[in-house]
C-alpha cells in the first residue's frame, strides 16, 4: 500500500519529469530549424554538437 508521502513523491516526479520532457522537446523543435530561420545563418550549435557526438564523445 502506497503511503501519502510516496504518493506525493510520485506525483511530483511525474510533474517535473513532464516539465523537463516538454522543455527538451521545445528546445529541439526551436533549436534546429527555428533558430536557424531567425538568425538566418547561424547553425553553429547544430554542427558543433553533432561533431561532438560523432567524433569526440565515445557515442
Amino acid at each position: 500500500m502506497q503511503t501519502h508521502n510516496e504518493e506525493i513523491l510520485l506525483q511530483r516526479s511525474i510533474y517535473f519529469g513532464a516539465v523537463l520532457g516538454g522543455a527538451l522537446w521545445v528546445v529541439w523543435i526551436g533549436w534546429m530549424p527555428f533558430i536557424k530561420v531567425c538568425l538566418l545563418d547561424s547553425n553553429f550549435k547544430t554542427v558543433f554538437v553533432y561533431e561532438w557526438f560523432t567524433h569526440i564523445s565515445p557515442c
Binding site: 511525474i14 530549424p33 547553425n43
Partner: protein
C-alpha cells in the same frame, strides 16, 4: 593534431551551413539523425510516462477506454520514431506517419481528462480544441504548400512555411503543456 583537424572541419561546416537554405524539422531529422535519435529519447520517454500516468489516473474513463488510449499512446511513440527516421523512411510514408502521429495525439488529448476537477474541465476542453484546430490548420497549410512547384526556391515563402511548420508542431506539443499546467494545479504546484 587530431583535435585541430576536428576544429578545422567544424569551422568549414559552419561556413558551409551559413550559406544553406532554411530547412524543415523533418530535414533536420534526416541530416542529424544520430543526434536526433539520441536526444529525443529523453523528451519522448518523459512525455510518454506523463501521458500513461494521466490516462491511468483518469477519473472519467472506463477500464476498457483506458486500455485503448494506452495503446494509442504507445502507437504514438512508434509513429513519432518513424517520422524522426526521415533519413531512411521518406516520401509518402513520411507524410502518412506524420499525419498518423497528429491524429493519434489528437485522439489522446481529446479523450483524456486526467484527475482534473470538473470546474476546470470545460475551460481546458475549449483551450485544447482551439489549439488542436490551429495546429492542424497550420500543418495542412505547410503540407499542401509542398505540392507547389518550386516552393523551395522561393526563399521568402519557404522561410514563412518553415516557421508555420514549427508553430504547428509547437502547438501540438502545447496540448501536453496544458495538461502539465492543469496537473500542476491539481497537485498544488503552479
Amino acid at each position: 593534431m587530431n583535435g585541430l583537424l576536428i576544429f578545422l572541419r567544424v569551422e568549414s561546416q559552419v561556413i558551409m551551413s551559413a550559406n544553406s537554405i532554411t530547412t524543415t524539422i523533418s530535414h533536420t531529422f534526416s541530416k542529424y539523425n544520430t543526434l536526433a535519435t539520441i536526444y529525443l529519447t529523453g523528451p519522448m520517454s518523459l512525455i510518454f510516462l506523463f501521458r500513461v500516468y494521466r490516462t491511468v489516473r483518469d477519473t472519467v474513463l472506463t477500464s476498457l477506454q483506458k486500455k485503448m488510449i494506452l495503446i494509442v499512446v504507445l502507437l504514438t511513440q512508434y509513429t513519432t520514431m518513424i517520422v524522426v527516421r526521415y533519413d531512411t523512411i521518406i516520401g509518402i510514408w513520411h507524410y502518412v506517419f506524420t499525419a498518423l502521429t497528429f491524429v493519434l495525439l489528437l485522439i489522446y488529448h481529446n479523450t483524456t481528462h486526467g484527475s482534473c476537477k470538473e470546474e476546470y474541465q470545460e475551460e481546458i476542453t475549449v483551450i485544447k480544441t482551439y489549439v488542436s484546430l490551429a495546429s492542424v490548420v497550420l500543418m495542412l497549410v505547410f503540407g499542401i504548400a509542398q505540392f507547389v512547384t518550386g516552393i523551395r526556391d522561393m526563399q521568402d515563402w519557404w522561410q514563412v512555411l518553415c516557421i508555420i511548420e514549427v508553430f504547428a508542431v509547437l502547438l501540438l506539443g502545447s496540448l501536453d503543456l496544458v495538461d502539465v499546467y492543469a496537473y500542476g494545479a491539481e497537485i498544488g504546484i503552479e
